[in-house]
């Protein structure tokens, strides 16, 4: 418990605030479907960018076929939903599993040239073979051909519980303030007491919520289309936060340390007694599983899964752009990068169309020259102040 507390304290304060912000914003603002749509997309793509950063930023392996894991994850979800008629959560597990398995397969095949440029080229070849097979008429049965596989939107994503919560977001804010006060005023007492108090008060708040909700039911029925916040928004946000903390945990574990040691000097790592191959295999598999999971989440969002839209090599290139823009080897950076670029695309595309992409390309070159360590990387070292200190000053 002590380690958990220390871990949460050292790693997560700023990020938890950001996550809470996104969890609550649909409840308190005139937010609506258009925004939840783009944010859901950002959360999912951020998971994918994170998988890329985990491999490149920590192990130093540039996988130029990362979109293969993403795409196979999307296809795995399509298969399970279409053929198995199984639940979405099982489909997601399949997606992650197939991503991880492909990662292991790739690692075993590339064993003899498992570093640097040769690995990049091999991973590209691996992805391109699957991509060109999936585009062939011969494999139309499994790939869905040009039009792609249609998949049903899973039930869990169709319901919209946030509809009701929206109506009394104010109560949510009150509860949050209450929780915050409890958290601050019980400083010094043991963690169990604090958690107990907070859970207890949340429970009471939930009962109050339920009663008020019944009372306000007629309001919920009058809600307009724009106010609906689909479940997928919360699902994507939850998975993103979970994957982030998992990745954070892994890179600061002994295994993660060995990854970073391989990035710095592989030969020396081997001489110390760690088998580099095993650790690189683990890195590729974990990264592949996360990318597969992202693909699985993305599939229902796309409605149709086709080789052209999930295996697109530009998906890999974009993941690289996200990770580098935010800062390689920071995890947060990949999320931030994905957010910035996708928001830019979203808001500029209606205005200047295809020129957005040219702007992104130029921005990208400018970033390399002005902040070579990426946004988070530069912030972390600005004037000897850490990123956390800056955030602390900002929030008091």
């Amino acid at each position: 418990m002590k380690t958990l507390e220390r871990h949460l304290k050292t790693h997560s304060s700023s990020l938890m605030i950001v996550a809470l912000f996104f969890a609550l914003i649909p409840l308190f603002s005139y937010f609506g479907l258009p925004y939840s749509d783009i944010l859901t997309r950002i959360f999912i793509i951020a998971i994918y960018a994170l998988s890329f950063d985990l491999l490149l930023g920590y192990t130093g392996l540039l996988n130029f076929g990362q979109s293969l894991f993403f795409g196979m994850g999307a296809y795995a979800t399509a298969y399970t939903l279409n053929w198995g008629g199984m639940s979405f959560l099982i489909a997601l597990i399949f997606s992650a599993a197939i991503g991880g398995l492909l990662g292991i397969l790739l690692s075993i095949m590339v064993k003899r040239s498992f570093k640097g440029i040769p690995f990049t080229f091999f991973s590209l070849a691996f992805a391109m073979i699957v991509l060109s097979m999936y585009q062939k008429r011969l494999f139309q049965g499994i790939s869905g051909g040009e039009g792609g596989l249609l998949l049903p939107v899973p039930g869990i994503l169709r319901s919209i519980w946030a509809l009701r919560v929206y109506e009394f977001g104010f109560l949510g804010l009150l509860t949050l303030a209450l929780l915050f006060i409890i958290y601050r005023s019980t400083r010094g007492s043991s963690l169990y007491v604090r958690i107990g108090l907070m859970v207890g008060s949340s429970g009471i708040a939930a009962i109050v919520f339920y009663l008020v909700a019944q009372h306000l039911d007629h309001l919920a029925k009058a809600a307009t289309y724009e106010r609906l916040i689909p479940n997928s928004y919360y699902l994507a946000l939850t998975v993103l936060v979970a994957v982030y903390f998992l990745a954070r945990r892994i890179v600061s574990s002994p295994v993660g340390r060995v990854w970073q040691s391989i990035r710095e000097n592989e030969t020396r790592t081997g001489v110390i007694g760690y088998n580099p191959f095993n650790y690189k295999l683990m890195a590729v598999a974990v990264s592949g599983a996360i990318a597969g999971l992202a693909g699985g989440l993305y599939a229902p969002y796309l409605l149709t899964v086709s080789a052209a839209n999930v295996f697109d090599p530009f998906l890999t290139i974009k993941a690289l752009i996200f990770a580098v823009l935010g800062g390689l080897g920071t995890l947060k950076g990949a999320i931030l990068g994905a957010g910035i670029i996708l928001l830019l695309e979203h808001f500029l595309n209606p205005l200047i169309g295809e020129w957005t992409n040219i702007l992104i390309g130029v921005l990208f070159i400018v970033i390399v020259f002005t902040m070579p360590r990426g946004i988070i990387g530069e912030l972390m070292t600005t004037g000897g102040k850490s990123f956390r200190e800056i955030i602390k000053e900002m929030v008091g």
Binding site: L62, M109, V110, R112, S113, G116, I117, P118, T120, F121, F122, L124, A125, F126, M128, I129, S132, M133, Q135, K136, R137, L138, P313, F314, I317, L320, I321, V324, L328, G353, E354, W355, N357, I358, I360, G361, V362, F364, I365, I367, V368, F369, P372
Partner: protein
């Protein structure tokens, strides 16, 4: 059967020459400074469109080819001296910059040309039509690509082996630090090599328009072809790149004629097989 085989071989040779024109520059650039130029495919594509525009404007086929080669040489030199030079030695930064350039060219071309593919409206009459020796049917334009590719290969080979600059290039590929220590100006040579490589890519693009049409997608696919061929031939080896192109082009066309569904991935299967069983490539012993 023999006739089909012969036309497959001729098509394969022509394709090999296109492969060679994009891969040789890529390979020299990689060999000399260890730079993976992600914009190389885009230069191929841009060369195709420049040539297409010039030919539609002036009606002169050869002027189009020359314009493509020359303009890509200039763009290549600008990319190298304006953007890449300051970041030498920083592998990640180089990858990012060339990716950024690729991104800009790709989307710029999309704005101008969209998804359509275009071909020359007018080429010299002796490049149209076919030759028919015996039972064979040979496409004149393919023969032209083969001749052009062989001339370029010969010229680059002579440049590398018979000139002083070529000597520096070879020395640099072998051991860039040692070459520099002995007083060779590898930096200036590299600018030249970058320009020549870009010009070759542009020429290849221009030559391809009359056969496979110019389209924006060419950029990315030919970049990947260049990756594959450089791996097949051996990273940084010029001769290896030539043989690699021949192997890749002919394999592709043989598959296209006889086992069509394997034609698309054939290049990547070859590349994967090389990396699996002979990671140093066909030429062997090239640097990693």
């Amino acid at each position: 059967m023999i006739a089909t085989l012969a036309s497959a071989l001729i098509d394969g040779l022509a394709l090999s020459m296109l492969y060679f024109m994009i891969a040789s520059g890529f390979s020299l650039i990689f060999g000399l400074e260890g730079i993976v130029n992600f914009a190389h495919g885009s230069l191929f594509m841009l060369g195709a469109f420049v040539s297409y525009e010039v030919v539609s404007y002036t009606g002169s086929f050869y002027l189009g080819l020359a314009a493509a080669g020359l303009s890509m040489a200039i763009i290549g030199a600008l990319i190298e001296s304006g953007l890449l030079r300051k970041k030498f030695g920083n592998e990640m930064a180089i990858i990012m910059i060339t990716l950024g350039v690729m991104y800009v060219i790709h989307h710029g071309a999309l704005i101008r040309y969209g998804a359509a593919s275009s071909t020359y409206r007018k080429i010299p009459s002796y490049l149209q039509g076919t030759l028919k020796p015996g039972q064979l049917i040979l496409n004149n334009y393919q023969l032209f690509i083969i001749v052009l590719g062989l001339i370029i290969a010969g010229a680059v080979f002579l440049f590398l082996n018979r000139t002083n600059v070529g000597l520096i290039v070879r020395a640099g590929i072998d051991d860039v630090d040692m070459a520099r220590a002995l007083g060779a100006n590898t930096r200036r040579t590299f600018t030249l090599v970058f320009a020549i490589g870009s010009a070759l890519a542009g020429l290849g693009g221009a030559a391809s328009v009359g056969w496979i049409y110019a389209s924006v997608d060419l950029g990315l696919s030919y970049l990947f072809f260049a990756f594959a061929i450089v791996v097949i031939g051996g990273l940084g080896s010029f001769k290896g790149t030539f043989y690699g192109s021949l192997l890749a082009g002919i394999t592709h066309e043989l598959f296209a004629y006889f086992i069509p569904f394997l034609a698309g991935p054939s290049l990547f299967i070859l590349m994967a097989a090389i990396l699996l069983f002979k990671p140093e490539g066909l030429a062997g012993g090239a640097k990693q």
